[in-house]
Subunit: 208 residues, 6 copies
Amino acid sequence: MFHSLLIISLLFSLCNAAVQDFCVADLKGPQGPAGYSCKSAGVVTADDFVYSGLSGAGNISSLIKAAVTPAFVEQYPGVNGLGLSAARLDLAPGGVIPLHTHPGASELLLVTQGIIQAGFISSANAVYVKTLKKGDLMIFPQGLLHFQINGGGVTAVGFPIFSSPSPGLQILDFALFANDLSTDLVSKTTFLDPALIKKLKAVLGGSG
Amino acid sequence: MFHSLLIISLLFSLCNAAVQDFCVADLKGPQGPAGYSCKSAGVVTADDFVYSGLSGAGNISSLIKAAVTPAFVEQYPGVNGLGLSAARLDLAPGGVIPLHTHPGASELLLVTQGIIQAGFISSANAVYVKTLKKGDLMIFPQGLLHFQINGGGVTAVGFPIFSSPSPGLQILDFALFANDLSTDLVSKTTFLDPALIKKLKAVLGGSG
Amino acid sequence: MFHSLLIISLLFSLCNAAVQDFCVADLKGPQGPAGYSCKSAGVVTADDFVYSGLSGAGNISSLIKAAVTPAFVEQYPGVNGLGLSAARLDLAPGGVIPLHTHPGASELLLVTQGIIQAGFISSANAVYVKTLKKGDLMIFPQGLLHFQINGGGVTAVGFPIFSSPSPGLQILDFALFANDLSTDLVSKTTFLDPALIKKLKAVLGGSG
Amino acid sequence: MFHSLLIISLLFSLCNAAVQDFCVADLKGPQGPAGYSCKSAGVVTADDFVYSGLSGAGNISSLIKAAVTPAFVEQYPGVNGLGLSAARLDLAPGGVIPLHTHPGASELLLVTQGIIQAGFISSANAVYVKTLKKGDLMIFPQGLLHFQINGGGVTAVGFPIFSSPSPGLQILDFALFANDLSTDLVSKTTFLDPALIKKLKAVLGGSG
Amino acid sequence: MFHSLLIISLLFSLCNAAVQDFCVADLKGPQGPAGYSCKSAGVVTADDFVYSGLSGAGNISSLIKAAVTPAFVEQYPGVNGLGLSAARLDLAPGGVIPLHTHPGASELLLVTQGIIQAGFISSANAVYVKTLKKGDLMIFPQGLLHFQINGGGVTAVGFPIFSSPSPGLQILDFALFANDLSTDLVSKTTFLDPALIKKLKAVLGGSG
Amino acid sequence: MFHSLLIISLLFSLCNAAVQDFCVADLKGPQGPAGYSCKSAGVVTADDFVYSGLSGAGNISSLIKAAVTPAFVEQYPGVNGLGLSAARLDLAPGGVIPLHTHPGASELLLVTQGIIQAGFISSANAVYVKTLKKGDLMIFPQGLLHFQINGGGVTAVGFPIFSSPSPGLQILDFALFANDLSTDLVSKTTFLDPALIKKLKAVLGGSG
């Protein structure tokens, strides 16, 4: 069947080059601008490339009725260096993923259940809003404010995929009201009333 | 509520910078190494960022019982320049996506229905195979041979997301047997028997 | 002085390779994900590499007492493809550059006059605030909310330099209140009161 | 001859910035997605930038009459981080480098002796084959299946240069038949007959 | 004011993803092609993002009447991985920054005081020279020979910003005459007279 | 031989995605920061990927006894967007490629005939010089001054491969003495004597 049955010697001459097809993150090793250090290839198994942590629904029993479950490089070390990561959105009826950005990645959202109304705002201050159904995709360009809302009567589920293993997540309300940025600075830089800011800080756990 | 009610003048001084947050492909414009030319921002609408072509099942009535439906930049111009694209896999029971590579991207596969057995082979010739269930993710590093097989008794569905708007798709059987690469060259470079190659070329539509 | 006086022939054999050291933007040509088309090298002059539009103060007579003047690729075509652009901040006493992001670039701010208090908020919701004086540099990582405030009694001036010719600029108040994103959606995704949103939309020119 | 003889002080003020022009790989240090850790600059010598391992012919006495000798980053640490590496092909008359891909790099092949017939297959399933003579260059885009065959009566030599220090090398026959990917999976994903697969696995050292 | 006062649970579900917005250099950790290892996020403070080392004038009392003070990643670890760094030029009347290149970055020069005459030479051997005043910007494409000269009667100051944390700095006179590259090799590769080279080596501290 | 003989329908469902594996330059189309526009895939042939212009020796009859023949994207459009290009060096006995830089690429030099003495100078002003024989490789990091000299008694030949389709080429002597940069500016920025500069300008064809 083969022209030659004795090409085994080829195998050794061709394959003595160690290679780096992937770089499963060693979360305890040093991290650099391009990502985590690689686990030794010798201990990498198929399990390193698979992540099951998004298979179950997030906890949507909170009053905002929504959950975001990340599968970034810290949760899913196999994506290190490969330019991709993921998350899962669960949105009960009335659920909302509030305005947020991913400073380090664009996002491609796949809706797998229900109806999601989603939108983003561009640098030119244009608004792009659509109502998405099961199987629809929507792309959110890197770094822009966007949101997702349950747009139907049943629980909706979506899977955002990011163009980086470390997309980051900056939720506007938390950035404004859930840390120790002083009420004075928040007020000056948002023009919101200090009394309102203090009230929101109290709700969201911020101080100052 | 605001410290000042008259900051409108700020709006104009701050916003007179045109910006390029995105670059929706003008599929008829010139294409370069980084992607397609951008549609004029003035005619971009929310529809450009949404793609519904993966919401329906692909045709799995063929004897291989599987379909791949792409949402690359040519189908989904909104992803141009944003480092992401997608596809949909439909696998009837017994269905197979045969061995293939994406020369231009890594792939993150999300299983949304059924059971998929998937695997890839590394440059070091190691094999990584896993059986995936609904909600599981598996990452396939760029350029490596991989496959997906229905691993259960019901139709399975998965959505691969790619780290490029133009991942490419090279299916091994078609590369070997469905074009005009001569039987002699296929035989010499695969060590397969010429008679077998001719038979497969006949099946898959190749010549030479 | 030279070992050989007749190396002129070398000049021609070595220099017949056209080269692309730079790509001054042709703002009227097609634009792609990597930037604008290049002006023909034959018409490029030293003027293309210089920009004087930031030499004068911006208009700080508005009530917010601040101005941002961009020198992005649209204003300064010479930076096209070179990974850099700039802007100028003028901050009268009490002046504020409100919370904003640059979706496409990190920013290195150089203070050239006065005192500027500046800060950013990370994805981990940590706050980094510093008071900067003349000659100080502060770096703001890509895509994170940040602000600048006059921190002294005299007009302050700073020059942000960006890691992209098209950094983008998304000002929070404008994104929320100066476009047609509906009051209902703003309220749902920020948890702010609809009445407040309507009031702010009226001030900032938004609708809906 | 100089306007000033006393500019030595300049030397010290200008040169106190450590710099990273290169990053010779420390093969024992941690590896990340962008490559290996750098050797300390203090111990780098000219030898680190030179590699002589390709100066001799590879062993072409095997029955396939060909050898590939890599100069990837593991063999040639000086290329770490510089976007280039190399290899040497030796092809006795009748010699063949079987179908393979480099998942991580494009390849520019320089023929330095004899005649090489080379070709690649695109994602669109087009075939590009040429017969190359001494001094010819051929480019193989990243990730695509390609091959090289001795096209003349004398030993041929070529030097592929890659656009990455770690191009990887996936040889089709070895990926299919020289590992433990089960005969059942190979058969299902290539449509080859199980009996044939078992025969080839026996020849090439595969199992399962 | 909020639709819900009890969204605190959201905070925890959304924020349990560690993120990498920045990577402040740990100058003692391993360095790779993409930069230095990151300091542990837990010990990063606002001080890491600010650099005050350029606020004072460099020493221009030397006979060349100029100083370059770098704020590269080694001096300013906060820029690691963020694609930016800076320097300060001080040019007394008659001061000169001699011909040099930055092998790893383009440069955007901001003039903040006085008059600077600056220029660069392209690969096509075209010369681009301009006289810059306070507030002017000039861009120098990566890797090209360029210079800055005080073009007025008073001390001039400028701030170059680079498109890399490690731009490098290769000063022509030092590269030719301030190291141990042999006089013979310098002469052969520049066509300058050996006697002249030896004289310049003596001035600039070179040997050989 | 196949499990199914009727998988042809698969062919069409899988292959309806146009793809961009390569982007052969249309030298008359618009050029952007990432390279030239792509030729229409329909007119691309195998010839586009092959370049024979380096197969013959360059003209080394000049008094410097050396020639550089480029195969950059302008000469070899098939490399557009693929991160590689090449050149050929011919060095008669005594031949010299004078000090030069490639502003846009690192260089990997392969010696194919004779002896070449080569070296480069780092930003830290260290000198790395080696004598290379046939089959040796030497890497020159991006943007650094380097040279090649015939180091033996017979004609030497080498092939530099670059990490960019447009590496650029800045030859020091030409940059200093073969253009219209004024003698005054050359003198001020190199500290060379104006009389010497004028003499060299006369030899090399410069003016001013």
